[in-house]
């Protein structure tokens, strides 16, 4: 089966790069190939300028990974998980003794240092997984859907940690299907679907290129609106009970919304999510 077919991108050092796409688009496969955890049949894949097949070991030494599914070691405590992970990098135990308390403080898990993994909440597990990815003080941090399934508090905390990582000079590669997350965190993103590249650029560039600047979201009896009578340069999209009108003329949209009686209108600037839906369509994925 071909999971990733036509995909090229470069990541600038010390930037945050987002790999976006619907479920099954090939995001995780791309990351796994990058880490040598999935085979690839061809193409060039270099990390830190080294081919991943030859420089595997050196690349791993400088990379930290937060996988999509938690794979913390349930047989150990919070602190032991970090120490154990350090041993897979063959890090000096003395260095680990210094580094572990700092990492636990950073993810606010110091009070839970001696607790077993099974007693942690989902958000705590994520934070610990992030701390674990930092035991080798990596230059490149790979995050596969770091906030999926988290509550807003935990999500904001992860975001602030990612910002902190970025400020400290690490290069970050993340996948997500939360467009708000990508907009907040990423300097550059690519949108992929079915293993191929659809678009690349900064979030604002993509909005500018692929979408009108404002959106009017209308909910209610939208069938009554005669789409044919709208200006030709307004783009409309119907989704269930909602109608989306995309246009560059913000004032005209605002005026139009005032004419709609008994309908719920939300007039807002275009977001990365609008671009994403335009590029990948509204059809549900498996």
């Amino acid at each position: 089966m071909v999971a990733v077919a036509d995909l090229s991108f470069d990541i600038q050092p010390q930037s945050c790069f987002g790999l976006l796409g619907p479920n099954g688009a090939g995001k995780t496969t791309t990351l796994r190939m990058l880490l040598g955890q999935s085979p690839r049949s061809g193409g060039v894949l270099e990390v830190f300028g080294q081919d991943i097949n030859h420089g595997r070991r050196a690349i791993r030494q400088r990379t930290g990974v937060v996988p999509q599914a938690d794979n913390l070691d349930p047989d150990f405590t919070v602190r032991e998980n970090l120490a154990m992970y350090g041993s897979y990098f063959r890090l000096d135990p003395k260095v680990m003794d210094e580094r572990i308390p700092t990492l636990l403080d950073m993810v606010e898990l110091a009070p839970r240092a001696n607790d077993r993994i099974s007693t942690l909440s989902g958000g705590m597990k994520r934070r610990l997984t992030l701390a674990r990815a930092l035991v080798n003080d990596p230059q490149l941090l790979v995050l596969d859907e770091p906030t999926t399934g988290l509550d807003p508090q935990a999500r904001h905390m992860i975001w602030s940690l990612i910002h902190q990582m970025k400020r400290s000079g690490k290069t970050i590669l993340l996948t997500t299907h939360y467009m708000e997350e990508a907009e907040r965190l990423c300097d550059d993103v690519i949108v992929i679907d079915e293993g191929s590249l659809l678009a690349k650029g900064s979030p604002s560039e993509l909005i500018e290129t692929f979408c009108e600047s404002t959106v009017l979201e209308i909910r209610g009896d939208v069938k009554e609106i005669r789409i044919q009578s709208l200006p030709a340069n307004w783009r409309t999209e119907e989704a269930g009970e909602s109608l989306y009108i995309y246009a560059d003329d913000s004032q005209a949209l605002e005026d139009f919304s005032k004419e709609l009686i008994g309908m719920l209108c939300l007039h807002r600037r275009a977001m990365l999510e609008d671009v994403f839906l335009r590029l990948t369509g509204r059809a549900l994925r498996g």
């Binding site: 897979y88 990098f89 063959r90």
Partner: protein, 259 residues
């Protein structure tokens, strides 16, 4: 790297071994109790019970014959269990290897770390039986301790086929086939309970193809203080089997874990 290349483990395999050892330390008391209690039950029950009717076998009391055979059997048994049930638990439900593979530690290191750990568990179990046997007066002198490294090696040689089974496993049920079709026949046929020489000639030939036979032929004389006949042949058969299965297990684990 070609998937078929010979295993190339690095020092990271010791980190994998150490992980398992640290987990084991938590359940040490129960585990050791199990290592002592089970053979004690078998030895007393079968060795004394059946031994009264059998008398002497191959120039030694039946109890001694059985105890020395049991050390070999337990090396196989403990290593097989660990390499199937425990390795599967770490591989599938716990996703431990998935986590490890994001570090410089690679598949070959995991395979060798697990092999070493299985050997270690066999060593502990074998030593426990030896201690029980010594307490019951079966072991004649300290030379019997030479069996400890042999038991370690035997454990590794039987852990490798266990890993092969695990590499194909999709659930724990998978292991019952190996247990019933491979381990139980070896337990019964390979000289643990009676000398292989007492089997019909054709059967003897086939039993020579089973690795446990060779483990028993090396371990029994060491425990009872007799010279080993054909040591080179038995050792070559056992180690050869271990090397081939280790290579196959490594290839299969690369295929299973890099997907």
């Amino acid at each position: 790297m070609n998937i078929l290349t010979p295993p190339r483990p690095g020092l990271e395999c010791l980190a994998v071994w150490r992980r398992n050892a640290l987990v084991w330390r938590r359940v040490m008391t129960t585990s050791l109790l199990f290592h002592f209690a089970e053979p004690l039950l078998y030895l007393l029950g079968i060795g004394y019970g059946l031994g009264r009717f059998v008398g002497e076998l191959d120039g030694m009391p039946y109890f001694t014959f059985l105890a020395s055979g049991f050390i070999a059997w337990s090396a196989m048994n403990v290593a097989s269990m660990e390499s199937m049930w425990s390795v599967y638990t770490r591989m599938v439900p716990q996703q431990t290897y998935e986590g490890i593979l994001a570090t410089p530690t690679k598949v070959d290191d995991i395979v060798f770390g697990e092999l070493l750990w299985c050997g270690t568990k066999s060593l502990m179990s074998g030593t426990a039986i030896l201690a029980v046997a010594a307490l019951l007066g079966v072991v004649s002198n300290w030379d019997a301790l030479l069996v400890v490294p042999v038991v370690f090696l035997t454990g590794i040689c039987f852990a490798a086929p266990g890993l092969i089974v695990t590499a194909y496993a999709t659930s724990y049920d998978h292991f019952s086939f190996y247990l019933t079709l491979v381990m139980t026949p070896m337990f019964i046929l390979c000289g643990v309970f009676y000398p292989v020489a007492s089997l019909p000639d054709t059967a003897q030939f086939f039993v020579q193809l089973l690795p446990l036979t060779h483990a028993v032929e090396i371990i029994r004389p060491i425990v009872v203080g007799q010279p080993i006949t054909d040591l080179g042949f038995h050792l070559a058969a056992l180690v050869g089997f271990g090397l081939v299965t280790t290579w196959i297990a490594t290839v299969l684990f690369r295929r299973r874990l890099i997907n």
